[in-house]
């Protein structure tokens, strides 16, 4: 497991505990940990420096207000500042222009431009009922045009055929003309990947921009990007009037600090995030969640959203509501989560979405796909009433359930413990937000440093 802020700060908070107020020197320690955690999350160094300076400012302000636990105050500030820097939620696509509204995709090689073009087309058709045309201006990468053509075909979205013997600008203009004539609402223009320091290629995309006058120019960034994100973002931002950012491959285990770097450097909103190779894998951006992720706080809510996508909608919605309210989360829900977990590729796939302590605890207690089947078996041998009222399950019921599931009573106990922790966790998460959760975590999970 990667180091992260939650781990780091639990140590610092311990040190801060018992100290009445934040001083210039004890906040220094905490800030050093924040700095390290952000660097490990791949936030670029200049951005980290600015951020910690801001946090310090804000935190010293809190001291004046006084009444809070110093650790609480600091974590609150860190998360709040980070979320604020991430920008607004749900910045949609702007189509306020004479159709066809042109969307130009730009970014480094392999960032995900072509795939995202397909995803965006699908999203706009489904959610906004738009008529879309897709075109590729990538005359360089082998089979790049073919790739977009295949995606368009899979989606049954119109595709403007192009050829590697043509010039990108000519392709784009012809596509625009075609879109006008055929009353397309939107034209999505995929482009070749390019290095920010490749002057000729940067000039090419500037010319494309000048010819097309796109209403959206989207910078596509791989969530795994490291420190160089600042250089790339600077260069693309200088060459093109970007209107937004799309962060791809967030389904991986990268902390995604590049999101903060790119957002900070370009000042443009992150409009969507890519969360799968599949064409339905594009989601709205949520600054709070991204902040939690960068800080290593995990992301229970997007876990639930993922569940919604993959499985029964009504059920997942119910669960999301419950979790939001922090009540009524029972063993039925727990089991449903497990079933969903299966559908989403097993425990290991989900580990990194969970808050650090939870996933560590899980790793420590050897929760693997095998033990998950066991848990499922145990819950299956409970009566519906037991599932919704786990507090009923006392010794004799435990024995019956264990026998039914072919396990030992010990295993039933383990499961009930685990369930209880999850329940607490969910409550904490929904009610008090991060600060409360941080505080609650200490006693909550087995094997956590105390």
């Amino acid at each position: 497991m990667l180091d992260n802020l939650t781990q780091r700060l639990s140590g610092v908070i311990k040190n801060l505990r018992g100290q009445a107020r934040l001083t210039e020197s004890n906040i220094q320690d905490a800030l050093r940990e924040v700095r390290l955690a952000l660097l490990e999350a791949d936030v670029a160094l200049p951005v980290v420096k600015e951020f910690t300076a801001q946090v310090k400012q804000a935190a010293l302000g809190q001291e004046v207000i006084g009444n809070l636990n110093p650790g609480q105050a600091l974590i609150g500030v860190v998360h709040r500042e980070l979320a604020r820097l991430m920008g607004e939620a749900n910045a949609g696509i702007n189509l306020a222009t004479v159709p066809p509204a042109v969307i130009l995709m730009a970014g480094l090689q392999g960032a995900g431009k072509t795939t995202t073009s397909g995803k965006l087309a699908r999203l706009m058709r489904e959610q906004m009922k738009k008529k879309i045309l897709l075109v590729s201006c990538d005359v360089y990468r082998p089979a790049a045009i073919e790739q977009l053509r295949t995606l368009a075909q899979q989606l049954e979205i119109d595709f403007f055929a192009s050829d590697i013997s043509q010039k990108p600008r000519d392709i784009a203009l012809a596509a625009q003309d075609y879109a006008r004539k055929h009353h397309h609402d939107v034209l999505i223009v995929d482009t070749a990947g390019r290095l920010a320091i490749d002057a000729a290629m940067m000039e090419e995309i500037q010319q494309l921009h000048a010819a097309l006058k796109p209403i959206e120019t989207l910078f596509v960034v791989d969530a795994m990007t490291g420190q160089d994100a600042v250089n790339t973002a600077k260069a693309f931002g200088a060459a093109l009037p970007l209107t937004g950012i799309i962060l791809t491959k967030l389904d991986g285990d990268a902390r995604g600090g590049a999101a903060l770097s790119v957002r900070h450097i370009t000042g443009k909103p992150i409009k969507f995030v890519g969360v799968s190779e599949k064409l339905n894998g594009l989601e709205a951006f949520h600054p709070e969640r991204m902040a939690s992720r960068i800080l290593g706080m995990g992301d229970v809510l997007s876990l639930i959203e993922e569940a919604q996508r993959e499985v029964d909608h009504a059920e997942a919605e119910k669960l999301a509501q419950k979790v939001k309210k922090g009540e009524g989360f029972d063993l039925n829900d727990f089991k449903m989560q497990i079933v969903q977990m299966r559908k989403m590729g097993g425990v290991s796939a989900l580990m990194d979405k969970l808050p650090a302590q939870l996933s560590q605890a899980a790793a420590g207690s050897k929760v693997d796909d095998k033990s998950i089947s066991r848990i499922e078996g145990i819950i299956n041998s409970m009566t519906p009433r037991e599932r919704s009222h786990p507090e009923l399950i006392k010794a004799s019921r435990k024995r019956r359930i264990a026998a039914g599931a072919g396990v030992q009573v010990m295993h039933v106990n383990q499961l009930l413990n685990q369930f209880e922790q999850t329940q607490k966790m969910m409550k904490m998460f929904s009610k008090g937000g991060m600060a409360k959760m941080m505080r609650g975590m200490k006693g909550m999970l087995p094997g956590m440093g105390r």
Partner: protein, 347 residues
């Protein structure tokens, strides 16, 4: 100090892509500039200098762990060598970085088996398919025959992309419409045996390591390759070359099993930050990665995460990618990489 780069650039006349060298240089000028400023001001070694060095390492994606380690090494070295002048510090850091990276410089030797089967893996968009195109050219340049296996049956037009690289190199690509990746590569290995091909390069679909089912799938691909070419089936060579120092010898290969794939290459994008460590770990656990390819070094990214990898999970770096053309591949040379990372040529 740029001797190596100059030499390779003049040796390899690549009219379509001469840009990478100048790009590499211009990107390095920035680092170099930072460094010359830092060291050029003369005077004694002090804490500010160390802090500036830390900045340079961190912004090259070396990561906190390896950066701390390198700085500790550097302080130690400075002490035992009794260095005092600011101007001496850069060579000292280069020395420490080289010590860390040198063990990774182990060229890939494909003469040990025929066919020598190389499987490529990595996250989405890292540069696997393009690297296969370049590797084909590289091995052909060594007089070897090459066959490609289109093991990415998932991504749109992945097959067509590899076929194009096959056509550019004039080599056969074994592919199926749709189908199972393991089956395609199995067929390719069989074909290579029948045709006495020297090197098989197997492409696989990009996958993020969090996708458990895809990690299982690629493990299966490896198992199936082993079945296609089990122990003892690959021709053992006459061994007219000495095994590399630190390389597995034929002896140990026989012990550890000589079944294919003989090399599992993990392709890493130089733009990647600390997640590269997690990639090395996850693909390593799943497949037993035996070598790395670091792509896209022609950009501004330094690929310093290799130093983090050298410290945490050392695996030989076989090649670096420096462009999108057929010739834009180089064997990894630790000295050159260190010079490039620290901008040592730009005094």
């Amino acid at each position: 100090m740029f001797g190596f780069l100059k030499k390779t650039a003049t040796e390899q006349h690549t009219p379509e892509k001469t840009g990478w060298l100048s790009r590499l240089k211009s990107s390095l000028v920035r680092t170099g500039g930072q460094l010359s400023e830092l060291f050029g001001r003369g005077g004694k070694i002090d804490e500010d200098l160390y802090e500036e060095l830390e900045t340079i390492l961190i912004t090259a994606d070396v990561g906190m762990d390896a950066t701390r380690f390198l700085l500790a090494e550097l302080r130690h070295y400075v002490k035992v060598q009794h260095l005092t002048e600011a101007g001496q510090l850069k060579e000292a850091l280069a020395h420490c970085l080289l010590k860390l990276l040198k063990p990774l410089a182990q060229p890939l030797e494909t003469g040990t088996y025929q066919p020598f089967v190389i499987m490529l893996c990595g996250v989405n968009g890292a540069g696997k398919t393009t690297s296969i195109g370049k590797l084909t050219r590289y091995f052909q340049g060594q007089g070897k025959s090459v066959l490609l296996a289109a093991g990415d049956t998932f991504r749109a037009a992945a097959r067509e992309q590899l076929m194009e690289w096959g056509a550019r190199n004039n080599v056969t690509v074994i592919a199926q419409q749709g189908g199972d990746p393991a089956a395609v590569i199995y067929d390719a290995v069989q074909a290579a045996m029948a045709r006495k091909i020297d090197v098989v390069l197997a492409d696989t679909a990009g996958r993020l390591t969090t996708q458990a089912h895809l990690m299982e799938e690629i493990k299966k691909v490896k198992r199936v390759i082993a079945k296609a070419l089990p122990d003892g089936q690959a021709r053992l060579p006459l061994s007219n070359f000495p095994p590399q120092a630190g390389e597995r010898t034929n002896e140990s290969l026989r012990e550890s099993g000589s079944s294919a794939p003989h090399e599992v290459l993990l392709v890493l994008d130089a733009n990647t930050g600390q997640n590269a460590l997690s990639q090395v770990k996850a693909f390593g656990d799943a497949l037993g990665v035996t070598g790395l390819v670091l792509t896209k070094l022609d950009g501004t990214a330094k690929g310093g995460v290799i130093a983090a990898i050298a410290k945490a999970h050392p695996i030989p770096v076989r090649f670096i990618g420096v462009g999108e053309g057929l010739d834009d591949l180089r064997p990894f040379v630790a000295e050159d990489f260190v010079s490039a990372l620290l901008g040592l040529d730009n005094d």
